[in-house]
C-alpha cells in the first residue's frame, strides 16, 4: 500500500477535520485494508481511526425506534438477544456475514459503506468502468455474481446485507455531512450507485455515518440468502422482508433484495400489493413476480432470477412464523 499518516479522532468534529479532503475513516478496516493493499483507491493521505468516537458503539432500544451506533460490530448485532426478538431478520442477516473473526471487528457503518466485490473491480490490473475505465468487463465477460438490474453500464451489485435488511425495515442512516446531521433512507444512501458507474453509495468524501435508526413499527422481519457455500461466502442473492403482521394480514410491507442490483432492490408496487393481504404461496409468488418483472439477466447470471424468486417467497412466508 502507499504511505499514509495515521491518527485517532476523539470527537466527530475533529474526525471530520482530520480527514479533510484526502483522508479516509478507519473503523473495522476489513474493506479499507483490502482496497489499500490492492491500490484500488487513490491516496489516501491519512487514515483517521474513528473507533474511539464516544457513544457510537451502542445499541439503544426505544419504544418506537432502535438506534445502532455506526461502530456497533456485526457480532454485537448477532449476539443481542433482544434484537433477535424485535428484528429477527436483522439478526439473521448479521449472522450470515463473513466469519466470526470478521464479525468481531466489522462495523455497521463499514458494512454499509463497503465497496463493490465485483471481481473485475477487485482485480488490480483490470481498468474497469467502476475504477474509472471505459468498459464494464462483467457485461462482456463472466457476470455470474452480478446484477439483474442497473441504472448505468456498471453491473456490480451492492453486497451489504445490512443495507438490504435496513431497507426492508425502512431504517434511516444518520450521516455527518457538511457539519450537520443528514438523514438518508437506504434508497438515498445507495441512489448514486444506481446512476453513476464509479459510485458504491451516495456518501461524499468526508461524510461520516453516525448511526442507523430502525422503526419498530414492523413486528415481523426475515432474511435469507443463498451462497455457493454454506458459510463464509457472499450471497448470490439475498432477501429481506419486514411487515407489521396483525390478524394474519400484512401492513407496511417491505421487501428488499441484495446482490442483484447496485442498490437494495425494492419495488414499491410489490410492497403495495402485499399490504392488506394474508400470506400464502400464491400471494408470495405474485409479489416475487412483481419484484423481478424488470430483471435484465445476462447469460451468466440468469440463474439469479429463479433463485431470487424462491428466496422472496421463502422470506415472505417466514414473516408468518
Amino acid at each position: 500500500m502507499k504511505a499514509f499518516e495515521y491518527t485517532t479522532a476523539l470527537s466527530t468534529d475533529s474526525a471530520r477535520e482530520l480527514v479533510a479532503d484526502k483522508g479516509v475513516y478507519l473503523a473495522g478496516g476489513n474493506d479499507l485494508l483490502g482496497l489499500l493493499k490492492d491500490y484500488l483507491i487513490p491516496g489516501p493521505n491519512i487514515l483517521v481511526n474513528v473507533k474511539s468516537l464516544p457513544g457510537l458503539n451502542r445499541i439503544e432500544r426505544g419504544a418506537n425506534s432502535w438506534t445502532l451506533g455506526a461502530l456497533v460490530t456485526i457480532a454485537q448485532l448477532e449476539g443481542d438477544t433482544d434484537l433477535s426478538k424485535v428484528f429477527p431478520g436483522l439478526h439473521d442477516a448479521a449472522s450470515e456475514i463473513a466469519s466470526p473473526q470478521i464479525r468481531n471487528v466489522a462495523t455497521v457503518g463499514g458494512n454499509l459503506a463497503q465497496h463493490s466485490r465485483c471481481w473485475y473491480y477487485r482485480q488490480r490490473d483490470v481498468p474497469c468502468l467502476k475504477k474509472g475505465g471505459d468498459l464494464c468487463y462483467a457485461r462482456e465477460g463472466d457476470s455470474r455474481y452480478h446484477s439483474l438490474f442497473s441504472g448505468n453500464d456498471c453491473i456490480s451489485p451492492v453486497v451489504s446485507s445490512l443495507g438490504t435488511t435496513f431497507a426492508a425495515l425502512d431504517a434511516t442512516a444518520v450521516v455527518l455531512r457538511d457539519g450537520k446531521e443528514t438523514r438518508l433512507s437506504m434508497a438515498e444512501l445507495y441512489q448514486k450507485a444506481w446512476t453513476e458507474p464509479t459510485a458504491h453509495h451516495s456518501l461524499n468524501p468526508g461524510d461520516l455515518i453516525l448511526r442507523v435508526e430502525i422503526p419498530t413499527a414492523r413486528t415481523a422481519s426475515a432474511y435469507l440468502q443463498v451462497s455457493d457455500k454454506h458459510t463464509f461466502d457472499w450471497a448470490l442473492v439475498s432477501c429481506a422482508a419486514a411487515a407489521d403482521v396483525s390478524g394474519g394480514k400484512l401492513n407496511q410491507s417491505r421487501v428488499a433484495l441484495g446482490s442483484i442490483s447496485p442498490v437494495p432492490h425494492q419495488v414499491e408496487a410489490a410492497n403495495a400489493f402485499l399490504d392488506g393481504k394474508a400470506l400464502d404461496d400464491d400471494i408470495a409468488s405474485q409479489a416475487a413476480d412483481l419484484i423481478l418483472k424488470e430483471a435484465r439477466p445476462l447469460e451468466h447470471n440468469a440463474y439469479k432470477v429463479p433463485m431470487a424468486h424462491a428466496l422472496i417467497r421463502r422470506t415472505l412466508l417466514k414473516l408468518k412464523s
Binding site: M1, R117, W119, Y120, Q123, D125, V126, L135, Y137, R139, E140, G141, D142, R144, Y145, V226, D228, K229, H230, T231, F232, D233, W234, L236, P297, L298, E299, H300, A302, Y303, V305, P306, M307, A310, L311, R314
Partner: protein, 697 residues
C-alpha cells in the same frame, strides 16, 4: 524373503503424529518461518499482460527504494511472456513494504499482444491466436482403437451420449510455494517448501551451475504441495540470485495471489463420451473424445505423474470395442503440474457419470451395473461394504423420485491409482547411541502426511521400542537420499527401508555386543555394551515388503434444494485399501483430506479466466472457493487391512472418486445430470430447466 511381523503393537494401530505437539503449538518451523541471520524479504514482479514481448526491464529506480538490497531480472534481454502472472523481475529488501514499493518502481517496456486466448474453447478454434508462435494450440495424439466400435454400437441394447467437463483446479496448499535461500562463498542453503529436497537440490545446481555438493536443501516442516512442489521453481532461482547479489539470505514466499497464476494446476477436461451395453448390462462399445488445457504447457516442474491433459479412458472398465481421441489445448495461462492423482479425478468423473447414465438407461441399479463390469476383486469387496454402510438398498431410488423441494440422492464411484508403488533407491541410516537413544535419518521429507510418524512406528515395531523413543530426522539433503513425496510412493518407500535399517542394526548389535536379541527389554543393555562410540547403520529399500496399486470406492449422499440449486453433502462413505496399514490415524487423516479435496472439486473449485483481459478472476479464497467446516459432511472411513500385500500409499486414491460419487448422487436426487464440475447452484438450476434463456451477445 523378508516379511512384516504378524503380531504387532504399533503397525496397523493408531499412533499420534510424532510432531503433533509442535504443529498445534506453532513451534514447528516451516520454510515460511525461517529467519536466517540478516534475512531479507523477496518479491516477484509479474506480467500484467497475458501475452507480451518484454523489450526492457529497468531496475534502477527499484534499487533506489530505501531498504532494497538487490534486484534481478527473470530473464536477460528481450523475452516473451505468455500468461498473466509470468515472472519478469524480483527484488529483495528489509521490509515487505520496501519490496512492494520497489516492484512499482520497476520500469518495464513491453509490446503487449492484443490477441491471446485464455480459455480452451476459444483457443481450440482454427483462427485462435497462437499461444506459441507458429504452432497450433491444439496437439492431438493418435486415436487409440480396438475392436470394431461402429459395429459394436449397433449391437448394444442401450447407448448414451454425454458431455462431462471438469475445470482447471489450483493446488493451493496451505503453505504457499517459496524458499529461503542463502548463497555464500561456501555454497547455497535452501530452506524449501518442497516435496522433493533432492529434486530441488539438483534443479538449483543445474540452474545456478554449482556442484550438487555445494547445495543443501532443508525442509523440516512443510504445508502441503499436492504435486506442485517438486522443483525450486522460478521463485527459488530468483531467491538464489537475489541472495547472491544482496549477500544475505532471502525469503521469497509467494502470496495466495501468485499461487493462482504461476505454480501449477490440474488440467481441465472436456469429455464427449458415447457408451453402450448389451441387455444383460455388459459394456460393449465405447467412444470418447477429450480435450483439456495444461496452460502454456505441461511444464518442467510437473514431477512424477506429469501435468498433461490426457486421461485414462475408459478408466476402470474394460470395453471390448473402444475408440479414444485426446488433445491438449495450449492457452495463455500458467502451466499445469502434477496434481494429486494426475488424470484420475477427471477420468473418474467422466467415466463414472457415464456409467450411471447408462445404468439408468438400461434400467439397472448403477451399483449392480458396476459390479457386473468391474473385474477387480478388491473393489468388488469394497462396494459390498460401502453399500451396506450407506444403506444402498434402502436409499437408492429411481432418479428424481425423491419427494419435495429438497431432494435426496445417493451415488458411488470407484478409484484406482496404478502408478503408486515404492521408489527402490530409497536409503536411510540410524544412529544407535550407547545410552539407547536412536535417531533415524532419511533424506525424504514429510509433506504433511505423517512420514516422520511412519518411520517412528516401523522403527518402534522392529526394535521393540515405543514410537516416542525414536528420534526421526528427515528433510535434509545431507541425509541418505530418499524419494520425492508424490504419487502415493513415500510410505511404500520408507517403510521397507526402515525395516532394513532395523534388521541391519540388530545384526550389527549382535556382532558388536553379543546380545542375541537386542529388541525391547534388552535394548538398553545391548546399547550400553557398545561402549563409547555410537553405531551407525545404513539401510536400503528392500523387495517383498511393499506393493502397488491401491483401489478404493466411495459413496455419497446428498440433499439438493431444487429451488435454490444448493447442494449439501450429507455423508461420504470411503472404503479404502492400501495393503499393510502402518498408522491408522494418519491414514484416516489422508482419506479425510482426500474426500474434502474431492468435495471442493465437485462443488466449489474452478479457476476462472477472463477472455477479454486475460487475467485470473479468482486469485484468492474469496472467489476461488474451498470447502469450509460447515460444508464438510460426516465422513465414514472403512479400512481394509491387507498385510499380505505389503505397504502401499493412499494419498492419491483417497481423492479420486469423491467428485464422481457426489455428481452421481446429485443426478440421482434431481433426475437430471449436471455434467460440469463444479456443481454450483447456477448449474443445478440450469439442469432443472429453471433458468430463463438469455441470448448471448
Amino acid at each position: 524373503m523378508p516379511s512384516w511381523p504378524t503380531e504387532t503393537k504399533y503397525i496397523s494401530h493408531p499412533t499420534l503424529r510424532v510432531d503433533a505437539v509442535p504443529k498445534v503449538t506453532g513451534r514447528a518451523r516451516y520454510s515460511s518461518d525461517i529467519q536466517a541471520d540478516g534475512w531479507l524479504y523477496g518479491m516477484i514482479l509479474r506480467s500484467k499482460w497475458p501475452a507480451a514481448k518484454i523489450l526492457s526491464v529497468n531496475l534502477d529506480k527499484a534499487r533506489q527504494v530505501p531498504g532494497i538490497k538487490a534486484a534481478v531480472v527473470a530473464r536477460d534481454g528481450e523475452f516473451t511472456v505468455r500468461y498473466y502472472g509470468e515472472e519478469i523481475a524480483a527484488v529483495a529488501g528489509t521490509t515487505r513494504q520496501a519490496c512492494l514499493d520497489a516492484l512499482r518502481a520497476i520500469e518495464v517496456k513491453a509490446e503487449p499482444r492484443n490477441e491471446f486466448a485464455v480459455n480452451e474453447n476459444e483457443a481450440r478454434k482454427d483462427d485462435a491466436p497462437q499461444v506459441w508462435e507458429g504452432r497450433s494450440n491444439v496437439a492431438a495424439g493418435p486415436p487409440r482403437e480396438h475392436g470394431n466400435v461402429d459395429q459394436a454400437f449397433g449391437e448394444c441394447a442401450a447407448v448414451i451420449e454425454g458431455f462431462y467437463t471438469t475445470p482447471v483446479q489450483i493446488h493451493n496448499p496451505m503453505e504457499t510455494h517459496g524458499n529461503t535461500v542463502s548463497w555464500t562463498d561456501d555454497g547455497v542453503t535452501a530452506w524449501a517448501s518442497t516435496q522433493g529436497i533432492s529434486s530441488v537440490r539438483d534443479g538449483l545446481a543445474g540452474a545456478l551451475q554449482l556442484d550438487q555438493s555445494k547445495i543443501r536443501v532443508i525442509t523440516d516442516f512443510m504445508g502441503g504441495g499436492f504435486g506442485s512442489k517438486f522443483g525450486a521453481g522460478v521463485e527459488g532461482m530468483l531467491a538464489a540470485q537475489l541472495s547472491r547479489e544482496a549477500k544475505a539470505p532471502v525469503r521469497l514466499m509467494l502470496t495466495r495471489f501468485d499461487q493462482a497464476l504461476a505454480v501449477g494446476n490440474r488440467p481441465s477436461s472436456f469429455q464427449k463420451i458415447k457408451m453402450g451395453a448389451k441387455a444383460d448390462g455388459t459394456l460393449h462399445a465405447f467412444e470418447a473424445e477429450n480435450y483439456g488445457t495444461a496452460g502454456i504447457g505441461a511444464g518442467a516442474d510437473s514431477g512424477g505423474g506429469g501435468g498433461g491433459a490426457d486421461l485414462t479412458m475408459p478408466y476402470l472398465y474394460r470395453v471390448p470395442n473402444s475408440r479414444v481421441k485426446q488433445s491438449h489445448v495450449a492457452v495463455n495461462a500458467g502451466s499445469a503440474r502434477a496434481f494429486r492423482a494426475p488424470g484420475n479425478p477427471p477420468a473418474s468423473f467422466g467415466m463414472e457419470s457415464a456409467m450411471d447414465d447408462l445404468a439408468v438407461k438400461l434400467g439397472m441399479d448403477p451399483l449392480a451395473f458396476r459390479l457386473k463390469n468391474d473385474s477387480n476383486e478388491i473393489r468388488q469387496r469394497e462396494y459390498a461394504i460401502g453399500a451396506e454402510k450407506i444403506g444402498w438398498k434402502e436409499k437408492y431410488q429411481k432418479p428424481g423420485s425423491s419427494p419435495g423441494v429438497v431432494k435426496t440422492g445417493i451415488g458411488c464411484a470407484g478409484a484406482a491409482w496404478p502408478a503408486g508403488g515404492p521408489s527402490r533407491s530409497t536409503q536411510g541410516e540410524a544412529q544407535i547411541n550407547p545410552d539407547g537413544s536412536v535417531e533415524f535419518r532419511l533424506g525424504v521429507q514429510d509433506i504433511g502426511t505423517g512420514t516422520k510418524t511412519v518411520i517412528a512406528v516401523v522403527a518402534a515395531e522392529m526394535l521393540g521400542l515405543k514410537p516416542e523413543q525414536i528420534t526421526v530426522k528427515v528433510g535434509d539433503t545431507n541425509f541418505p537420499p530418499g524419494p520425492g513425496s508424490g504419487g502415493s510412493t513415500t510410505c511404500a518407500s520408507v517403510s521397507p527401508t526402515v525395516y532394513d535399517i532395523c534388521q541391519r542394526g540388530l545384526q550389527q548389535l549382535l556382532k558388536q555386543t553379543g546380545v542375541a536379541d537386542a529388541r525391547g527389554k534388552n535394548w538398553f543393555a545391548a546399547c550400553k555394551k557398545l561402549g563409547v562410540n555410537p553405531l551407525v547403520v545404513h539401510g536400503n529399500w528392500i523387495e517383498g515388503l511393499s506393493n502397488r496399486p491401491a483401489y478404493g470406492v466411495q459413496f455419497a449422499e446428498v440433499a439438493v434444494d431444487t429451488e435454490t440449486g444448493l447442494v449439501a453433502v450429507k455423508k461420504i462413505v470411503a472404503v479404502h485399501d492400501c495393503g499393510l496399514i502402518i498408522d491408522t490415524l494418519t491414514l484416516e487423516s489422508q482419506i479425510n483430506g482426500g474426500v474434502i479435496m474431492g468435495m471442493g472439486y465437485a462443488l466449489y473449485e474452478e479457476r476462472v479466466m477472463d477472455d477479454l483481459s486475460g487475467v485470473v478472476l479468482n486469485p484468492n479464497f474469496e472467489t476461488y472457493k474451498l470447502p469450509g467446516i460447515a460444508d464438510v459432511p460426516e465422513i465414514e472411513i472403512v479400512l481394509l487391512n491387507m498385510p499380505e500385500r505389503g505397504v502401499i500409499g493412499i494419498g492419491e486414491p483417497a481423492t479420486v472418486p469423491t467428485a464422481a460419487a457426489i455428481g452421481n448422487a446429485v443426478a440421482n436426487a434431481i433426475g437430471v445430470r449436471v455434467g460440469s464440475l463444479p456443481i454450483t447452484p447456477a448449474k443445478v438450476l440450469a439442469a432443472l430447466g429453471k433458468v430463463p434463456h438469455v441470448a448471448t451477445t
